[in-house]
């Protein structure tokens, strides 16, 4: 059960936030915010190597008792963070990877839109639909 999905810019401000349970949004925001530190840590750890060699999927950033946080970073340091319910054991790593890949693809499509200025909040309906379907299907 994907609880939340956040896209953060290279400057670590959010471009897109979506969480399924309307309540507790703040909690998810906080969780994602703290997970950014982990993301940065992982990025810097591999910083020695070329960026190209860096794997985009960061994997489980850290688990809490309620949920797990997965991270994914693009080559342009745009970060995708996903919060998943811990009780959902059916969600395998591969599925998380595929979800991140879909996110990345959709994000790329957004970037292709000349009306989108990088760094803006993402308001695309299509993107919303995609994220919704993705999060819903998991649920």
């Amino acid at each position: 059960l994907v609880l939340a999905c956040v896209i953060c810019s290279p400057q670590n401000y959010p471009l897109y936030i979506r969480s399924i349970p309307a309540e507790n949004e703040l909690k998810f925001h906080y969780t994602v915010h703290t997970s950014l530190d982990v993301v940065d840590e992982k990025i810097s750890a591999m910083g020695k190597a070329l960026v190209d060699q860096r794997e985009l999927y960061l994997g489980l950033l850290y688990p809490t008792e309620d949920y797990k946080v997965y991270g994914y970073v693009t080559n342009s340091k745009v970060k995708f963070v996903m919060v998943v319910d811990s009780s959902n054991t059916a969600l395998r790593d591969n599925e998380i990877r595929s979800m991140f890949r879909k996110l990345h693809n959709s994000y790329t499509d957004i970037m292709c839109n000349p009306f989108y200025n990088p760094g803006d909040r993402i308001h695309s309906r299509t993107f919303d639909n995609m994220v919704n379907s993705m999060m819903m299907q998991v649920c």
């Binding site: 794997e55 985009l56 999927y57 994914y72 591969n94 990877r97 595929s98 991140f100 890949r101 879909k102 693809n105 959709s106 790329t108 499509d109 957004i110 292709c112 839109n113 000349p114 009306f115 989108y116 308001h123 695309s124 309906r125 299509t126 639909n129 995609m130 379907s133 993705m134």
Partner: protein
């Protein structure tokens, strides 16, 4: 009259309206047509209108003074908001939206044209053609421009429309920037984009009047006469209110403001509404217009408009960026950041629609989808002829895109269909149907043998085949070194020969196969093409196993690991040649002396055979026997398997020694051999006889002699393949050996013929087997590809 507090917007608005109605500039508006039409444009029930009029005191006064007018307008707003009409509500209701009045298109046009034309005359602009929004389109509120208003009022072209309405009334509630634009004086019009985009935007306002063809917010192009007024007016009228063009669709409102039109206009509207079927259909005129606009940006119709240029262009439409972004997402089908002609038309159409009040769809309508490929032409819906398939190459790209875009969903099945078609095509091309045909044909091709031998269907003794055979033989040359080894093993003398001969054919076809495999393949060749075919599809080492010739599944395995000697040996006399082909035509002589003895010598008696073979094989013993065999071809044909085996063995040894690609000269060899044999027949015969009689030692000797003689012949002789043919012939003729030397010529000739036939047969077999191999490799490659595709992504 109560005090009336108006907000500034209201103040302005009402002032404009009043001025509009105040045709006579008398500061009081009588209940003239304009006022009434204004109220009608408010889309209020008549009784409400009456109530309003009463409330505002006009009835008392008999005319609308400014204040009454203002009150009336305010009451109209109240009524439109759904609030009960109360005098008290005038001031108590806060944030009342401005009263809305349907703007006639003409007015918009006039405004619009006014914007762009320097002509101060608004005459024809207000043709009473009210843009009949196909049901939903809202008539745009005219921008408010005093000039326009004035002009409009003066001109009063609108036969029908609510002249009152449009020009003056800025879309009351529209939060659009357009409306704000509308409020600007005509000076603001100049801010508008150029006339280029101007006319571009004109369609927005003029969408309605027109197209009798489709009820879309149609931009009937400049041409259509009915709309010409709009266009014309657009061009002619002075820049009354530039805003008009933009605002026509107080889009966000979704207030379907019907143009209050005269009968004519309403009729037109109705007409257009009725013709409304597909809101997203692009008419030809619109299409043409879009194409022209496309050309202004990108002269090449097959080219792309880069995203930045498209962004500038569509930004001129004054749509909010969010909507433009959504439109882009809908229309950029292949997500490449650039617009093709079809995509551009779709985007343009969406912008137009949006300006006319249509909500943007979540998915790209079918009629706007760029044509994918010709396959989908039939599936396109509502596509105008003008929109003939722009090749869907960009659209085909989408498959690579994330299919999560809902707008692409419709195309996926089509693309999948096309891809499926392609796939099936490729699959068909790589199918092994030829093999099956081959098989079926082969079966009946060999009536002589109980076993279905791999008699190739094609009996084309072409040089190519011969060359192939030669190649195979050369390939087998590589394996030849091993053949002696094989020959040596006691149990495998015959097999060795077979294997060596076998090596000929599959030498080249068996790629990467072990030598043993080649043997097997050879054996199979000899055995049956059927078996071969099946075997090739399987693993190489099992060539013999998988497609067992009907009679002998794995008899060879008894002998050698992979050789199907039995099969090869079991070649019937008719097939002897085929079987023998594998062997150099060196064997025959041996069994000659005593056909029974020959075989005895060579085969059934292992010891003898072993010794003989071991001793002879490395040498060129078989050659001599071959000669003898040649003469015995005919006789041999009658002989049993043993003789064949003998011959094979002998030929095998010959093969070992002389491995030259052979062609159709095998017969020549045979001839030569026969000739020599004939020369030596007296000697050979006794030798062969000796061989036949003397189990072990004697046979080798005469064999050696013959071999030597044959050796002499060898250099002159030809390739292996021919030897094999000769061998076959020899084998076939073996039985005839004992007949008499005198018959050698006939035997030789017969053997020559047989060898030739065998050659051709084997050549065909070889080519077919190679084809099978190719097919199998293709299948393997396709399977590997499929496996790769099915394998889950293991990376990110």
């Amino acid at each position: 009259m109560e005090g009336l507090t108006l907000s500034e917007a209201e103040q302005r608005y009402y002032c404009d309206l009043f001025s509009y109605c105040d045709t006579e500039s008398t500061k009081k508006v009588a209940s003239n047509g304009r006022v009434l039409e204004l109220f009608r444009a408010a889309q209020l029930p008549n009784d409400v209108v009456m109530q309003i009029m009463e409330l505002c005191g006009a009835t008392r006064l008999g005319y609308f003074g400014r204040s009454q007018f203002y009150i009336a307008l305010k009451l109209v707003a109240v009524a439109q908001s759904g609030l009960p009409l109360r005098v008290e509500s005038l001031n108590t209701v806060k944030d009342l939206p401005l009263p809305r009045f349907v703007v006639s298109k003409n007015e918009q046009e006039s405004r619009h044209t006014a914007v762009y034309s320097s002509d101060a005359d608004n005459p024809a602009s207000y043709s009473g053609v009210i843009p009949p929004p196909p049901g939903r389109i809202q008539v745009k509120k005219g921008s408010v421009s005093h000039d326009a208003v004035q002009q409009r009022t003066s001109t009063d072209q609108q036969e029908s429309t609510s002249p009152v309405v449009s020009p003056q009334q800025s879309p009351p509630t529209s939060p659009h920037t357009w409306r704000k634009h509308n409020r600007h004086p005509s000076g603001g019009n100049n801010e508008r984009p150029l006339a280029g985009p101007g006319p571009f935007w004109a369609p927005f306002s003029e969408a309605q009047p027109g197209s009798s063809t489709s009820s879309d917010p149609i931009w009937s192009g400049h041409s259509p006469p009915p709309h010409q007024e709009n266009w014309v007016s657009f061009a002619d009228t002075p820049p009354t209110s530039a805003l008009l063009a933009m605002h026509p669709a107080s889009v966000q409102d979704q207030t379907t403001v019907r143009t209050v039109a005269s009968a004519t206009t309403t009729n037109e509207i109705r007409r257009q509404s009725s013709s409304y079927d597909d809101p997203w259909k692009i008419t030809d005129e619109q299409r043409q217009y879009y194409v022209n606009q496309f050309k202004t940006i990108q002269p090449d119709l097959n080219g792309f408009i880069p995203g930045s240029a498209a962004k500038e262009f569509f930004t001129k439409s004054k749509l909010p960026i969010l909507e433009l972004s959504h439109i882009w997402e809908l229309s950029d089908f292949d997500k490449d950041g650039a617009l093709t002609l079809d995509e551009f038309c779709a985007a343009f159409h969406l912008v137009v629609a949006r300006k006319n009040g249509y909500d943007l769809p979540e998915k790209l309508p079918e009629s706007l989808m760029p044509k994918l490929i010709d396959l989908e032409d039939s599936t396109e819906v509502g596509e105008q002829t003008g929109e003939v398939g722009y090749s869907g190459s960009p659209a085909e790209a989408p498959p690579s895109k994330s299919p999560s875009m809902p707008s692409l969903n419709q195309t996926w099945p089509e693309l999948n269909q096309s891809s499926e078609q392609w796939e099936t095509f490729s699959e068909r091309s790589s199918s092994s149907q030829t093999l099956t045909q081959f098989d079926s044909n082969i079966a009946p091709a060999d009536p002589d043998t109980a076993i279905v031998h791999p008699v190739p269907i094609r009996m084309t003794p072409s040089k190519i085949h011969m060359q192939e055979m030669e190649l195979k033989r050369t390939g087998s040359d590589h394996a030849n070194p091993t053949s002696p080894l094989l020959v040596k093993p006691p149990d495998l003398p015959e097999e060795n020969k077979i294997s060596s001969s076998i090596k000929f054919t599959p030498g080249n076809t068996v790629n990467g196969y072990s030598s043993s495999d080649s043997y097997t393949s050879d054996a199979e060749q000899i055995g049956s093409t059927v078996t071969r075919q099946r075997s090739h599809s399987g693993t190489s080492p099992d060539n013999t196993a998988p497609p067992p010739p009907p009679p002998r599944p794995h008899p060879s395995h008894s002998r050698s690991s992979s050789l199907d000697l039995n099969r090869s040996f079991s070649v019937t006399p008719g097939q002897q040649q085929a079987g023998v082909v594998a062997y150099p035509p060196a064997v025959p002589p041996r069994p000659q002396p005593s056909q029974g003895a020959g075989p005895h010598v060579h085969r059934p008696v292992d010891a003898e055979g072993l010794i003989a073979h071991t001793s002879t094989s490395p040498q060129q013993i078989p050659e001599q026997p071959n000669f003898a065999d040649f003469s015995q071809f005919e006789a041999f044909a009658v002989s049993g398997v043993n003789k064949e085996q003998e011959d094979e063995i002998e030929t095998h040894s010959e093969v070992l020694q002389v491995e030259k690609p052979s062609d159709s000269t095998s017969s020549l060899r045979v001839a030569k051999a026969d000739g020599r044999v004939e020369d030596k027949t007296p000697a050979n015969v006794p030798t062969s006889a000796g061989k036949g009689t003397t189990p072990l030692a004697p046979p080798p000797k005469p064999i050696r002699r013959r071999l030597k003689s044959e050796d002499e012949l060898r250099p002159e002789a030809e390739e292996h393949t021919q030897k094999t043919g000769v061998i076959a012939a020899v084998l076939a003729s073996q039985p005839s050996i004992p007949r008499s030397v005198g018959k050698d010529k006939k035997a030789i000739q017969a053997s020559i013929r047989r060898n030739k036939e065998t050659n051709t047969v084997l050549a065909r077999l070889n080519s077919e087997l190679q084809q099978q191999l190719k097919d199998v490799l293709e299948e393997r490659i396709s399977l590997e590809v499929q496996l790769e595709q099915l394998r889950p992504f293991s990376h990110l």
